[in-house]
């Protein structure tokens, strides 16, 4: 649990009347002069679900990169539970309670599926803590649950390297959930999943909301619809629209840059 340092609490009132957990303030990210994100601000209340959509290259993944410290902004700052995390090392940010699923699945290939989850579920992450501590009963149980939930139970002792693409996708989602973080960042969790799996994932995510705060990126409008959450649409590194799916679907500019012709966005 992060300690909230009083003097760093932001003065701005939270949008939904709840406490703001993630507060992205005016960040700009530049790659060799190319501005992938420009003066972007965004607030996510504690316990809420937020969907991030936007054209390919809009800067969605880069935004997540910035939050978890993989990419450092040239301007602006990121507050998490009131604390400025903009310059903290990645593992410290993760330790504060932010966990991310990457767009390309990232699992620990040399370990079994179960070990992947056990490591993710560990509370104590220091060198000496890992030497001393075997997994707790609670961690074991949690891992069992997740194995069942994600359908990976049959492959619990298989090395993660041997999973098919979609299975790795599931494993990584399970790892993020096992880590039990305050804030979950999911980058295209349903890519490569069947319709039914997509629905399951949506259900899983909805079950997390409240206790956790979740931010999801996806291009699958079915999925987005199932999530029933406020949407932020990024375009060219900036917030372009905020609102619910129906409003966005009626917006001609949104159709133009992102959704395409109305008839066919059913399938994608």
């Amino acid at each position: 649990m992060p300690r909230v340092e009083p003097r760093q609490i932001t003065v701005q009132p939270p949008i939904t009347g709840q406490e703001t957990l993630l507060d992205v303030q005016d960040i700009t990210v530049s790659f060799d002069g190319f501005r992938a994100i420009q003066n972007l601000s965004l607030k996510v209340p504690r316990g809420s679900l937020r969907v991030l959509i936007g054209p390919n290259g809009a800067g969605k993944s880069t935004l997540l990169d910035t939050i978890i410290g993989k990419v450092r902004p040239v301007g602006g700052r990121v507050l998490f539970a009131g604390r400025d995390i903009t310059r903290l090392p990645e593992h410290v940010i993760a330790g504060l309670g932010i966990c991310r699923k990457f767009q390309a699945p990232g699992v620990l290939e040399g370990l079994s599926v179960r070990e992947n989850l056990l490591l993710a579920a560990r509370k104590h992450k220091g060198v000496f803590a890992t030497i001393q501590g075997r997994p707790t009963q609670a961690e074991e149980t949690r891992v069992q649950e997740l194995l069942t939930l994600t359908g990976l139970k049959g492959k619990a002792d298989v090395s993660a390297a041997e999973l098919a693409h979609g299975e790795k996708q599931w494993l990584e989602i399970a790892m993020v959930v096992a880590a039990d973080p305050e804030l979950l960042l999911l980058d295209e969790p349903t890519a490569g999943m069947t319709a039914q799996e997509t629905a399951q994932t949506a259900e899983l995510i909805r079950s997390l909301v409240g206790k956790h705060t979740v931010m999801v990126i996806d291009h699958d409008m079915h999925f987005v619809e199932l999530l029933q959450a406020p949407i932020t649409l990024l375009h060219q590194g900036q917030v372009f629209r905020e609102g619910d799916l129906d409003t966005l679907r009626r917006d001609p500019e949104v159709m133009e840059i992102y959704l395409g012709r109305p008839k066919e966005n059913a399938h994608a």
Binding site: N56, A58, H165, H267
Partner: protein
């Protein structure tokens, strides 16, 4: 004609494909569907020559090619857009496109340059020509990858989940582009897809793969999506 005859394949000692039969006629659009992990990607890689067959054969234009390395098959008219796109991350977008040309080195008649159609279909290939491919966003990479496959002027195009991670409007564009490719270039397409909507809209025939075995095949026009839906559920 691209013909897969009784192909089996394995990772080490663990078999993944068991005697798969499949064919794609010239200029035909065929889709291969199936749940996660049933072996779709493995089959595509085996056809391309990136994974060895443990039994069975692959016939390209009537010739047995299952023992030929991938580059020979590429020169014979096979192109592959893998899951995960497979761009060369340190090469620029333009250089990635140029890398389609070696496939033409043995085809005397072919013009060894990037067809204008590629820029037409995927303007990003021109707009971002100088950028390092590895720095593009996922959707951008997918477009370049398909564009690059077209540079090889293929007869058969193997696409492994091309819409994965692509924004809706571009999915439409890709769909339109693929349709144009088929119509204008008469390229046959073998498409692996999870999205039945897309697969059914695009393809004429389908195969369902389950645990390494083709369990059903037919014409999309004659089979309602709902009939195959059960193969896709957990």
């Amino acid at each position: 004609m691209l013909k897969v005859e009784n192909v089996s394949a394995a990772y080490g000692q663990s078999p993944v494909l068991f005697g798969v039969n499949l064919d794609v006629a010239d200029a035909e659009a065929v889709t291969l569907i199936g749940r996660n992990g049933v072996g779709k990607t493995t089959l595509m890689r085996t056809i391309m020559g990136l994974h060895p067959v443990s039994a069975g054969g692959v016939r390209l234009n009537g010739e047995q090619v299952e023992q030929e390395p991938a580059f020979v098959r590429a020169r014979g008219g096979l192109a592959f857009v893998p899951q995960g796109r497979g761009l060369f991350p340190h090469l620029s977008v333009h250089e990635n496109l140029l890398m389609g040309l070696p496939a033409l080195s043995t085809r005397e008649t072919a013009k060894k340059e990037i067809p204008e159609l590629v820029y037409d279909l995927f303007p990003i290939c021109r707009d971002m020509a100088g950028r390092k491919a590895g720095n593009l966003s996922g959707g951008q990479q997918q477009q370049v990858a398909i564009g690059r496959a077209l540079v090889t002027q293929p007869k058969y195009l193997l696409l492994d989940e091309p819409t994965e991670g692509i924004q809706p409007s571009i999915v439409q564009e890709i769909e339109a582009a693929l349709t144009r490719i088929r119509r204008e270039l008469r390229v046959a397409v073998l498409l692996v897809e999870q999205y039945l909507d897309f697969a059914w809209a695009f393809a004429e025939r389908y195969y369902v793969l389950q645990r390494g075995v083709i369990v059903e095949s037919g014409h999309t026009a004659r089979t309602p999506q709902a009939d195959v839906q059960r193969y896709m559920s957990v």
